[in-house]
């Protein structure tokens, strides 16, 4: 049994939803772990982001954003805006939609490894979905086990 933990950091260039293809970074962590066959758990430790897989291109990103709007519209008022102001003071957070989206999509995926390679189909990318409305650095944990 071997467990290797890698930490990856990502910053986004916009103050709204941003979807980053992190496959090359995760693959690099797998190679550096020297684990040949096993599993890699990719996890984000926050409540306004998610990890998933998709074919990452402009068209798919656009369509995913449109799908998210159906159940978590940007122009809605969220109770979190009020409760966060009550809890934390100042003006509160205005990222209710970000919390809903993160809870819907989840914080983790687990991908099998063979010969030190992530077993993803060609065109299937691991993505970090940062739903928050402010720019902030995100830490992604890659827990590699054999």
């Amino acid at each position: 049994m071997t467990v290797r933990t890698a930490e990856l950091y990502f910053e986004k260039p916009v103050e709204d939803i941003y979807i980053t293809n992190i496959t090359p970074n995760v693959q690099k962590s797998v190679q550096e772990s020297r684990v040949r066959n096993g599993i890699a758990t990719i996890f984000v430790g926050c409540s306004t982001a998610s990890i998933s897989t998709m074919r990452h291109n402009d068209e798919n990103v656009k369509e995913l954003k449109a799908a998210l709007e159906t159940f978590s519209p940007s122009n809605s008022d969220y109770l979190h805006h009020k409760t966060s102001a009550d809890m934390y003071g100042v003006g509160g957070d205005h990222n209710g939609k970000s919390h809903v989206r993160s809870a819907m999509l989840g914080p983790s995926i687990t991908v099998p490894l063979k010969d030190s390679k992530l077993m993803l189909d060609q065109g299937q990318d691991i993505v970090l979905l940062d739903f928050d409305i402010v720019k902030r650095e995100r830490k992604v944990i890659v827990q590699i086990m054999v």
């Binding site: 467990v3 805006h81 009020k82 409760t83 966060s84 809870a103 819907m104 989840g106 995926i109 687990t110």
Partner: protein, 145 residues
């Protein structure tokens, strides 16, 4: 090479209402990891119920409410999508299959030095969509060294 260890903990939850109910299971997850005495590894948090889900979120009344509203948009209580409100195609007529499929039944939480790596405000949550208050099982499978 150190031999891999696996420990399974089964948790039981009964909700107090027939409405959609969210339960914070983080403390029991933490206890399960501590009791396993493993240093580093992963904890799979899974529910074996077809109308419940596991996810993570900031567990506070505002976000709980906002999420409930989003569930309604996914399949409205009076909508005509599948067996919602209609027993003919379902064994229980609670029609939350769309929600459970989208959210999923498990998460995997890494741990290091015997501590889960959840964020400061991030909690592991059982989302119970059942229209009955029947008990739900949450299975915590801990693997590591």
């Amino acid at each position: 090479m150190i031999r891999m260890k696996i420990k399974t903990v089964v948790l039981h939850y009964t909700k107090p209402t027939t409405e959609v109910f969210l339960t914070d299971v983080t403390r029991q997850l933490e206890h399960s990891i501590v009791d396993s005495k493993m240093g580093d590894g992963i904890a799979i948090v899974h529910t074996d119920c077809p109308n419940a889900c596991i996810t993570t979120m900031e567990y506070e009344p505002g976000t709980v409410h906002d999420l409930q509203e989003a569930f309604k948009k996914l399949n409205p209580p009076n909508g005509h999508n599948g067996h919602q409100g209609n027993n003919s195609n379902s064994t229980n007529g609670n029609g939350h299959d769309v929600r459970t499929t989208l959210i999923g039944t498990s998460i995997t939480v890494p741990f290091k030095d015997n501590r889960e790596m959840l964020g400061k405000w991030q909690k592991a949550v059982l989302v119970d969509f059942d229209t009955s208050t029947s008990e739900k099982r949450v299975i915590v499978q801990i693997m590591g060294e």
